[in-house]
């Protein structure tokens, strides 16, 4: 497997591949997470209500999730580099056109449709698929963890940058400047071209449809997909409802800000560490431990008197367990099904995550409206943690028999 890089130019060396993938994750996630900073100034500039921008972001999330399996399938067929280049170009165009979108309908098309499609093709999941092909198997988990941590770092780099641009030049010019960063993605994608080692891919003869059918008839894949649904549920519920929960308890917004920043900070540590651990220890057991850890943290948070100290400890623990699931889950997909269809198959698992996120955010609001508290949601989060911890245990952490090379 090692010989595959021998005759490649420097910009396609293993280090360059990993650096370019991480840079893409930083730019695409960072730019996206800075959109929240634009809600008020852009709405004020255009005379919209806040719902207009919120609708665009909702459409963006929807198209990102739905588009991911398709973008993954195209990347599997035509190469991750090409899809990243095309997706990055669409993403950059969407952000640039947001700056001149004068109506709510226009921003829904630019910031919603274009950026959503661009994210599906030009961001993290396709980088993961490229890493699965281009990085040596013994460093793959580490590289996936590093890319996840890098993407999480993007929020800390681009939020100050976006805020600085808005303060100095106004929201429209700030969007234009950010689109310049996203326009670098097609250049960076040049390092992520190529199909890697076909022997390692293993299932080259399978069509996408057959691969999908085989995956859905493989119990371990279904268990993994259902587990990732829980991950999305937890994350979206906490992202959306933790701040109001804390202020409902009489805690300050400053503490809520600290809690959220600690989650982001420890998320970087957790994602990177999970990637390293996934290269040594069974991924299914690590995933089971992560979900069990979340359940333990939720239970402590529900049962103990909520003090500022407990909030910060909870935030640090949840941060460690936040996106640490990503390198392990994507690594398991590559391990079970090889790299031939990893873009599409991880795209489907990712779609499950986004559906879980949608349900978690929505159900949190509905439960609070009906009962006046989040207690039911915390209990549900604990139950789902136990469920997710249990479903990862029987996963067969080896190549799936249906897709083994001998049957291809």
């Amino acid at each position: 497997v090692r010989h595959e890089f021998v005759d490649r130019p420097w910009w396609r060396s293993p280090t360059a591949v990993i650096a370019a993938g991480c840079a893409i994750a930083i730019v695409t996630f960072g730019t996206r997470t800075s959109f929240g900073l634009f809600t008020a100034p852009l709405s004020d500039l255009r005379g919209w209500d806040r719902e207009a921008f919120a609708l665009a972001i909702a459409v963006q999330n929807l198209l990102w999730g739905i588009g991911q399996p398709f973008a993954g399938a195209i990347a599997d067929r035509y190469g991750a580099g090409r899809v990243l280049a095309a997706g990055g170009a669409i993403y950059a165009a969407g952000v640039a056109l947001m700056s001149v979108s004068a109506t709510p309908g226009a921003v829904t098309v630019t910031g919603g449709v274009l950026v959503g499609i661009g994210l599906a093709g030009g961001s993290f999941t396709i980088v993961i698929a490229a890493f699965a092909r281009l990085v040596r198997p013994d460093r793959r988990s580490w590289a996936m963890g590093l890319a996840t941590a890098a993407g999480s770092m993007g929020q800390f780099l681009f939020a100050p940058l976006g805020q600085g641009f808005i303060s100095a030049y106004g929201p429209a010019t700030a969007l234009l400047l950010l689109s310049g960063f996203v326009a670098l993605v097609p250049l960076l994608a040049a390092s992520l071209t190529g199909r890697g080692d076909e022997e390692e891919a293993g299932v080259g003869g399978e069509s996408a449809r057959n691969a999908l059918r085989a995956a859905f008839s493989h119990p371990s894949y279904l268990l993994l997909t259902s587990g990732f649904f829980v991950c999305g549920f937890h994350i979206a519920f906490i992202s959306t409802h933790l701040p109001p929960y804390l202020t409902d308890l009489g805690l300050s917004t400053s503490l809520a800000a600290w809690a959220l920043s600690l989650i982001g900070l420890f998320n970087v540590v957790g994602a990177y560490s999970a990637g390293i651990l996934g290269g040594t220890y069974p991924k299914r057991l690590l995933l089971s431990g992560i979900y069990l850890g979340r359940g333990f943290a939720f239970a402590l948070f529900l049962l103990l008197p909520v003090t500022p100290f407990l909030v910060l400890v909870f935030a640090a623990i949840i941060g460690l367990l936040w996106l640490s699931t990503v390198p392990l889950t994507s690594g398991l997909v590559a391990l079970m099904f090889g790299t031939r269809h990893v873009g599409m198959l991880f795209g489907v698992v990712f779609l499950s995550h986004q559906v879980g996120a949608f349900v978690g955010a929505l159900l949190g609001g509905a439960v609070y409206s009906r009962t006046g508290s989040y207690d039911v949601m915390w209990v549900l989060c604990i139950a789902l943690s136990v469920f997710a911890a249990a479903v990862h245990l029987p996963i067969h952490e080896r190549r799936a028999a249906q897709l083994a090379p001998s049957t291809a």
Binding site: M153, Q155, F156, A236, S254, I263, Q354
Partner: protein, 46 residues
Amino acid sequence: MTRRRTRDLLLGVALFAAASLGALWQVNETTAQQPDSLPRLVCPLH
């Protein structure tokens, strides 16, 4: 500890240091500019 492990560890420390600065900025910005509003978590996947 092998060279690879040392390199991985140093990279992790560098990531943590950079992220710490970002987290401090985020707290400062949220509390200084919008003291009465709820902060929104910026998660890469949402």
